[in-house]
């Protein structure tokens, strides 16, 4: 028990250091960073990344990746906004729009699973292809323009309401979805199966887990999260179109990597995802705050590459260390 607490603490040390470093840096460079309005801004962007990252976690845990998340988000938002607008923005039309968008997302998720499991095509090729297909489909739905919503409509309430008139409602969606993800992964059979498949698909199959079926479900959960993320993003911006959610998969991937989720599958926690989303939201905010916008992509690229390399090197080291320790233990009794 004590060991468990210690282990958890060890995971949190680098995270706290990362937060501290960013805050100290900003305290020196730009004290106005600490204004309440800016923190609300950070919470807003973090919430969208966080919702999408929770969905991606399922797919990454089984050793896959969904590169179509950004396009999926944009497409779902466009579908919902179009239907809501055709129905004069009534509550029922908005709900119908959301249901249709979610249905499309689930169908695409199932197709991902079908191509990846049944046809055995590498996941990055499948999701890269659907990324472009979905991106190309957005203008067909919105007829090439942006769809705006006015204040007071149900969509507007979904995106821009505030709790106690201060905290954006988006953070509620994030917290709810993070809790649900945590519950599903840790307290349900399905969650344990996901970890098992990610750890070793062959072994999981031998144990009697239906690998194909669970993989399909994981991809469907991922696209569903992309749908929700896209809808709340577009509702918050009060517009949906081609640029909605564009290239968000890069940010989600970064949240995964920074959050310590093993891209090879089988390892990763919801707390890591939450932390990852917080850090990338912070970094993005810092970069725009310092008006280094041109270097945002460069900074992101450096961080992604550096963290991936470090985590892989650390992993091989621990594996080597463990095998060395095992050898030593095996050798000792004979002496």
């Amino acid at each position: 028990m004590k060991k468990e607490v210690l282990k958890n603490f060890r995971v949190w040390i680098p995270r706290i250091i990362a937060f501290g470093a960013i805050f100290v840096f900003m305290a020196i460079m730009e004290p106005s960073f600490f204004a309440a309005a800016n923190f609300i801004e950070i919470i807003r962007s973090v919430s969208v990344y966080g919702v999408m990252s929770c969905g991606m976690l399922f797919v990454v845990l089984i050793g896959g990746l969904d590169l179509s998340m950004g396009s999926m988000a944009g497409l779902c938002a466009s579908i919902m906004f179009t239907i809501a607008q055709t129905g004069a923005n009534t509550l029922s039309a908005t709900l119908l729009g959301f249901v249709v968008a979610l249905g499309v997302a689930l169908a695409v998720g199932w197709l991902h699973g079908f191509f990846i499991t049944t046809l055995r095509i590498p996941f990055f090729v499948v999701t890269l292809a659907t990324k472009y297909i979905l991106y190309g489909a957005i203008p067909l739905i919105t007829s090439g323009t942006y769809i705006y919503v006015r204040g007071g409509t149900p969509i507007d309430k979904i995106g821009t309401s505030r709790i106690f008139d201060t905290i954006p409602i988006l953070v509620v969606y994030f917290i709810v979805i993070a809790l649900v993800t945590w519950f599903v992964l840790n307290k349900t059979v399905f969650g344990r199966r996901i970890y098992a498949i990610g750890g070793n698909p062959t072994a999981a199959g031998f144990v009697g887990i239906k690998v194909f079926k669970n993989t399909n479900v994981a991809y469907m959960l991922c696209t569903a999260a992309a749908c929700i993320g896209g809808v709340i993003l577009a509702a918050n911006n009060q517009q949906a179109g081609t640029t909605t959610g564009n290239a968000y998969e890069g940010m989600v991937l970064m949240a995964m990597i920074v959050g310590g989720i093993n891209l090879a599958g089988g390892q990763g926690t919801v707390s890591g995802v939450v932390f990852g989303a917080l850090i990338i939201g912070l970094i993005q905010n810092v970069v725009t705050f310092m008006s280094w916008g041109d270097y945002l992509k460069l900074v992101q690229g450096v961080i992604i590459l550096a963290v991936v390399i470090v985590s892989v090197v650390m992993h091989t080291r621990t594996v080597r260390g463990k095998s060395r320790k095992a050898k030593r233990l095996a050798a000792e009794p004979q002496e």
Binding site: I121, V125, V126, A129, I133, L298, G301, V302, L305, V308
Partner: protein, 339 residues
Amino acid sequence: MRMKSQSIRRLVAVGLVLALVVIFAVTTPTFFGMRNLSILLKDSAFLGLIACGMAFPMIGGGIDLSVGGIICATGIICVHLSYDFGLSGYVIILIALVIGAAFGLINGIIVAKVGLTEFVATLASGFLFVGLGRALVFKDAGGRAVTRSISSDSYLSFGKNPLWENGLYLITVVWIVVAVGLYIVMKKTKFGLYTYAIGSNDKAAKMSGVDTTKIKILGFIISGACAGLAAFLVTANLTSSPAALGDGYEFRAIAACVVGGIMLGGGKGDTINALLGALFMTIILNGIYKFGLDSTYVYIIQGLIILLATAFDSQFAKFAAKRRLKEQRLSDITPASAS
């Protein structure tokens, strides 16, 4: 003697290209005009170059998702070299090759030495290269991004005018030279042979004494160098370097390789497959524009092509395996009459 499944697959690719040619020749009477053909060959040169380079990591069982980023970064550096330093185009083309190769070397080291899987490594480094390109973009005094056009004659000579009237462009010539060179490398050198060995079975190749680290790094260097070369030629053709340069090229190159018949698992195909695939993709994209379809259909059609081609390949591999098994059984029954 029955045909090898690999030759069947190549015939399928040739058939696809021929079918497209027939369709467009019937629908557009100017298709076989010299002007149209030379422009078609020019357009397929960029994609063809990238696909020929990408063939090496793909045959080695990997993939290179960073070529779009390499084109973005190298292209902007090329324009900087011409605009800020006034270098000649012939010097810049060599520098572009070196820069692309250096980016490829980074990929290779991350994959082969550090031990990341190909797609994670090149996806991550692709982000880095795109970021580098965006950071280097031209800015005016107010800090806003602007585009600068190239004025150097030697630079523009690669893409602006054909070598003779309605004839080949210099871009096409460069492509053909590189493609032939890479074909020889792939088929006639030890490096090419080892690449096939790694793609077929990484572990077996290593146990047979192949230096897999070196071969993998070399494959990525070739892919990067081809992308660098393509970046130079793309900017020479566009006469400037837009910020979104190279966006989606990795995707198109993978599509070209897959349609042409280079299997995703590795070990099969060669640069001729990449060449055929690049022709197919270019003809179909030109056709889309020619029929006046909206540019968003380009994305949808490219995506569908990749999905259909890979689905076909996976079913074709099953069919080929079944056929091999059947042949084996036949030869078991009648060993004497096998030849």
